[in-house]
């Protein structure tokens, strides 16, 4: 699937909840609760992306021209967002990742989590994902 297709899939998934933000957040929390997305051995300090409050760990690997992300976060909502980002961006080419607009965050009504004034590490994570992709290209 292309990045846009995955985004579309996520949008449809969230559309089911309509305006019920509580249900949306419950879903996000469930996503966050799914197994750790990163190997314990990768949860090292040099892989931490510091947000003001919640910490995010990111590992990026290139295999045969395709980037693989694994990640984790210590706050569960951030982790849910991280899970979405990994789902969207992982297993694509560097160029696809760098070009991704990630409009879905806006559409599913979680835009606030991408605001640079938000006290989490998510914005930095996306920047890091793109930077890593760029460095592979």
């Amino acid at each position: 699937m292309t990045i846009e297709e995955i985004e579309k899939e996520i949008i449809e998934e969230f559309e089911m909840f309509g305006d019920d933000w509580e249900a949306k957040y419950e879903h996000l929390i469930d996503l966050g609760k799914s197994l750790p997305l990163i190997k314990e051995e990768f949860k090292t300090d040099d892989r931490i992306i510091k947000g003001c409050q919640s910490r995010v760990w990111l590992n990026s690997e290139l295999k045969e021209g395709i980037v693989y992300f694994t990640a984790d976060a210590d706050a569960i909502i951030t982790k849910g967002m991280v899970a979405l980002m990994v789902r969207v961006l992982s297993e694509h080419t560097p160029k696809e990742i760098v070009d991704a607009k990630l409009n879905f965050v806006d559409t599913i009504g979680l835009k606030e989590h991408l605001s640079p004034t938000r006290a989490n590490g998510l914005v930095s994570m996306i920047n890091k994902m793109k930077a890593d992709a760029l460095s592979f290209s």
């Binding site: 509580e22 957040y25 409050q53 210590d74």
Partner: protein, 405 residues
Amino acid sequence: MKELKNIRDQFPILNQKINGYDLVYFDNGATSQKPLSVIESISDYYKQSNANIHRGVHTLSRTATGLFEKARKTLASHFNVKNDQQIIFTAGTTDSINLVVNGLSKNYLKKGDEIILSSYEHHSNILPWQLWAEENGGKLKVIPLLEDQSLDLSKLESLISSKTKLIAIAHVSNTLGVITDLEKVNSIARKNNIAVLVDGAQSAPHMAVDLTKLNVDFFVCSAHKMYGPTGIGLLYLSEKWLKDLPVSKPGGGTINTVTFEKTEYAENALRFEPGTPHIAGSVGFSAAIDFMNAVGIQTIFDHEHQLVQYAQQKMSEIPEVIIYGKSEHKAGVISFNIKNNHPFDVGTLLDKYGIAVRTGHHCTQPLMQCLNIQGTIRISFAIYNTKEEVDFFIEKLKKVITMLC
């Protein structure tokens, strides 16, 4: 006391919806909201009286100077300080502390000297001392916590050595709400001839502070936490330090005479207020003090105390809640966590219900290290908060816990 309904009407910001819910503002420890009287005192100042102060011969400048000096008098009388020149206007608590550290490091603090802090100090009352210590071979010592997260003052005397020059201590912990027994701290300090700086950022908004009675060397606080404007705070100097504290931040207005070779500084408060002061801020600060006194400081304290008791009671009935700072002796702050959850998640979801709380380390990372946690969720009250808001908060907190757990 004015009726609470009436008081809330004076805070236009409270009358708004966040995510469709009525705003519940429980982040007063970070900054309080401002009553109309304060907001209007500032607009009126700019619309009617704005001018630069001191030395001005024209009418507006005299008016503005008069307002600024009246604000100083208002603060002096509020804190029961006889000589209003002991009240210095600064940019806030952090600025005040830096001014003291920089002044003291000129003569008073020497290589090898020691400063005592408490375990629950705010970064603003740690970092300036730490920087001094690093650069001058000084040392910081820390008063430990008791089981109930109040200070173990029985250890204070054993921390004191012949090198101890100053105790810098919060009047009220911003994270825990615990009130420091300043009388005890001060009597030990006096006995050992040690200066005391009190960080009143979290006491001045909530309780009566009598600086003549307290009899410490330095007291600092910020207007923005006291229903007043941003960008202005206070530094109180004892009579001795008003004379003895060296100027460390000079500039226009601080002087009697200047040549390129040599400067003679002014004798009074002006020597510590370089450049154009925050005149509008002083006017707003003064209006905030008037507001607090119109309501009554004791009324504010009692009201917040009741809210804390009530909320703490309700919260302790929720099994997942861990409350920090269980001392009876505390001001309007509750810090807590939800077992196995990150404070950030709780704060994010509460915000969805329009409830503004603070989460994280509250600029007290060393305290977090003592408690061995990453952060807490903090609710902190002001005079305009209500029992109904606490009820709503409790209801939604329970909901959030089911969502997260």
